[in-house]
């Protein structure tokens, strides 16, 4: 008789056993139902704000007034921040056709966003949403629009908005984003019963949140702070540096974890008899978010001035948040992140 081998550390195994004893399946399902509902709200927001962005792009190109331009930028910001809130979800329909990369091609060390936008501006021929559908990830998402709306060299060129070709590109990309947002939202609701009835999604969702916090700490904040790689501080390693929203995007992502993930997770922790861990997580999220009360939207002004220590404080709070997830939440709920299962080939 073959033996069944579990490589979980014993402590985790016992805690997981305890979970199965105390958590009834209906409680677990309620937690997944809540998570599905909350994430669904996040996608719905993304869908609505993306539609507003597409409408606003068309309105601006029809009547390129200062007022319409301000509204267009504001709608870009709202849609982009909606994406940041739900960006932690790395499974489900967002995985299809590299949709996450289509929404935001990042990081972009070779500045492909600039070269691909430039390429399409200098092509002749039709430029519609159908063109963008097959044009590649660097020109399909929010960063390409950000380039059209904020890149200083472009704004001073004779192709600057509202030039006809640039307007065609603007409306095509924003329609592509809106279309993708509808696809991912519909896909998310289509998988409701599958998500809610598949217990593995508890661990999958927690692992997604853990990865998201690590990406924020290490790559979205730590890398531009010079805490990784060559040690140099570099604002261009952050996301959304063109629009000056690098820190605001991090705030939105943490808000997303707070509102779209934390409530459902809390139900799971309650069911496992670990309400104290739920409270610890909520406190860490609140502390991390409170940093932004005194921070600007962008990161560049803080990297080389007195403000650097406020970035360090945020970094430390992200570290503490990550520790609660890794050291408390994951072992309590029996969540194990594999090496080959999470990054194989």
């Amino acid at each position: 008789m073959p033996s069944l081998v579990s490589l979980r550390p014993l402590r985790h195994y016992l805690l997981a056993m305890a979970l199965f004893v105390t958590a009834t399946s209906s409680q677990a399902n309620e937690a997944l139902t809540r998570l599905h509902q909350d994430i669904g709200h996040g996608y719905t927001q993304l869908s609505e704000t993306s539609n507003a962005l597409a409408d606003s792009a068309s309105a601006y190109c029809r009547a390129p007034t200062g007022e319409n331009q301000a509204k267009l930028r504001e709608n870009w910001r709202e849609a982009f921040l909606s994406w940041q809130r739900v960006r932690f979800v790395d499974f489900g329909p967002i995985e299809q056709n590299s949709l996450a990369w289509q929404f935001q091609f990042w990081p972009d060390p070779k500045n492909l966003v600039a070269s691909k936008v430039s390429f399409w501006l200098h092509q002749d021929g039709e430029l519609t949403v159908n063109t963008i559908d097959t044009a590649g990830v660097a020109v399909q998402g929010f960063p390409a629009l950000e380039y059209l709306l904020w890149e200083p060299t472009f704004l001073q060129s004779d192709q600057a908005l509202p030039a006809a070709r640039s307007c065609d590109l603007l409306t095509a990309i924003s329609q592509h984003i809106a279309r993708n947002a509808q696809t991912v939202t519909a896909g998310w609701y289509d998988m409701a019963s599958y998500y809610e009835s598949t217990d593995d999604y508890s661990a999958t969702t927690i692992k997604a949140a853990m990865s998201a916090v690590e990406v924020i700490r290490d790559r979205r904040l730590g890398a531009p702070m010079g805490l990784r790689g060559n040690g140099r501080r570099n604002a261009y390693q952050a996301d959304a540096w063109r629009s000056g929203l690098s820190l605001e995007t991090i705030r939105a992502s943490l808000e997303g974890l707070d509102t779209l993930f934390s409530p459902g997770l809390g139900m799971e922790l309650d069911a496992a008899g670990a309400s104290e861990i739920k409270q610890r997580l909520a406190a860490r999220l609140t502390e991390a978010l409170s940093n932004f009360d005194d921070l600007p939207d962008g990161m560049a002004p803080l990297l080389n001035g007195d403000g650097y220590n406020s970035l360090q404080a945020l970094y430390i709070d992200l570290e503490l948040l990550e520790q609660v997830l890794t050291d408390d939440v994951a072992p309590t709920l029996g969540v194990i992140r594999g090496f080959n299962s999470s990054d194989g080939d």
């Binding site: 008789m1 073959p2 033996s3 069944l4 081998v5 579990s6 490589l7 979980r8 997981a16 056993m17 199965f20 499974f91 489900g92 329909p93 995985e95 299809q96 056709n97 590299s98 990369w101 091609f105 070779k110 492909l112 590649g136 990830v137 660097a138 896909g187 998988m191 599958y194 593995d200 029996g334 194990i336 594999g338 090496f339 080959n340 299962s341 194989g344 080939d345």
Partner: protein, 371 residues
């Protein structure tokens, strides 16, 4: 978590296996050979290392390298084992299996990167590697002459995009290639650029002139054919990774009788199929037993099939298991990303833990036999 149902199911499987005619086949192995295991691994500090273990789990060699590695192959008739940098890899490493020394690091051609696998001609002279010519996106088989320090002498077309694992067919003239079908480009990291149009296949390619002798396509266009192994009688077992929606659970294991061109996919039943989470990591076909082992780390499953009958023999639950290789009379050796090394005995009894260093064992084991 072990459930009663799993225990019962496994019990049935092992009963069924007891009647399989495997006992006599066990003893065709040459005596006096030693089986070593080579694998890429990450140290607890996050360094990339290439490790050689004996079949008791003792470290025979260990070198630190600059990049994460993937698969490998032994050079026939020599003391050399090669390990390839992981996709998009820029190097492969040549190691002396006895001294454990790194003998050479060979760079990829300009505009090419490795996919992480290679295979030798039976005489040990020519090495065949799967590569991406990324300006065109086309897959190629690079041909290297080991007798001249691994100079790249020519290349063959790989029959499409994304060739991944390659093995030498027992006829000595044919390459068996798992064509993953997925287009990537180093500028875009590991983003899959063509999921809507991918066209995976299992291929037999003449190593002398590049002719595609057989092409077998998976039952779904998004089943990326990624890994494989071949038995001495030409039975190929291939493993897929599904790129489509996670709420679907298509077959992930294919069996090709290459003599007859008979290609089939194995059905595991809905329950087990969906537990594999649409992902297989490694395949090992045993050369003397009718058994093949398949790892599925996302589902935490090790599967053993009878590759003659195409039937499932047994499954084991092993978290994050990936590396697997045949090890003669000792059955198979298995590693996991959580640090475990096991022997899977030929009688398919309980897994036997080996005392080996706790490393994050990577995707593949490379079998090395020493006379």
């Amino acid at each position: 978590m072990t459930t009663r149902r799993q225990v019962l199911r496994l019990g049935m499987a092992s009963l069924a296996l007891a009647s399989a005619p495997m006992g006599c086949a066990l003893f065709q192995q040459p005596t006096g050979t030693e089986h070593l295991l080579f694998s890429a691994a990450n140290t607890p500090e996050g360094n990339y290392t290439l490790v050689g273990l004996d079949s008791a789990g003792q470290v025979r060699s260990q070198v630190t390298v600059g990049d994460r590695c993937h698969g490998g192959c032994q050079r026939p008739g020599s003391r050399q084992v090669l390990l390839f940098a992981r996709r998009p890899g820029r190097h492969f490493y040549v190691i002396d299996t006895l001294s454990g020394q790194l003998l050479a690091s060979i760079d990829a051609e300009p505009d090419h990167h490795f996919y992480g696998h290679g295979a030798f001609s039976p005489d040990g002279r020519y090495l065949y590697t799967t590569e991406n010519h990324y300006p065109s996106g086309q897959g190629v088989i690079g041909v290297y002459d080991a007798s001249t320090g691994y100079t790249r002498v020519r290349q063959l077309a790989a029959g499409g995009i994304g060739p991944h694992e390659v093995r030498m067919h027992p006829d000595g003239n044919t390459l068996v290639v798992a064509l993953g079908g997925i287009q990537t480009h180093p500028d875009y990291q590991r983003i899959k650029l063509n999921l809507e149009t991918m066209s995976p296949a299992l291929l037999l390619i003449d190593r002398h002139d590049g002719t595609v002798l057989q092409r077998h396509e998976p039952s779904h266009q998004q089943l990326s054919c990624r890994h494989l192994d071949v038995s001495p009688d030409g039975t190929v077992i291939a493993g897929y990774q599904f790129q489509g929606p996670e709420w679907q659970a298509p077959p992930l294991i294919a069996r090709l009788d290459s003599q007859r061109g008979d290609f089939r996919e194995l059905s595991l039943g809905d329950g087990l199929q969906s537990q594999l989470r649409n992902y297989t990591a490694s395949i090992a076909v045993h050369p003397y037993l009718p058994l093949s082992a398949i790892t599925a780390p996302r589902g935490g499953k090790l599967l053993v099939i009878n590759h003659r009958s195409g039937e499932l023999a047994v499954t084991y639950d092993v978290d994050d298991c990936a590396g697997i290789m045949a090890a003669g009379q000792r059955g198979f050796l298995l590693t996991s990303g959580t640090g475990a090394v096991f022997q899977l005995p030929a009688n398919l009894g309980a897994l036997i833990p080996l005392q080996a260093p706790t490393l994050r064992w990577d995707n593949h084991l490379t079998a090395v036999t020493v006379a």
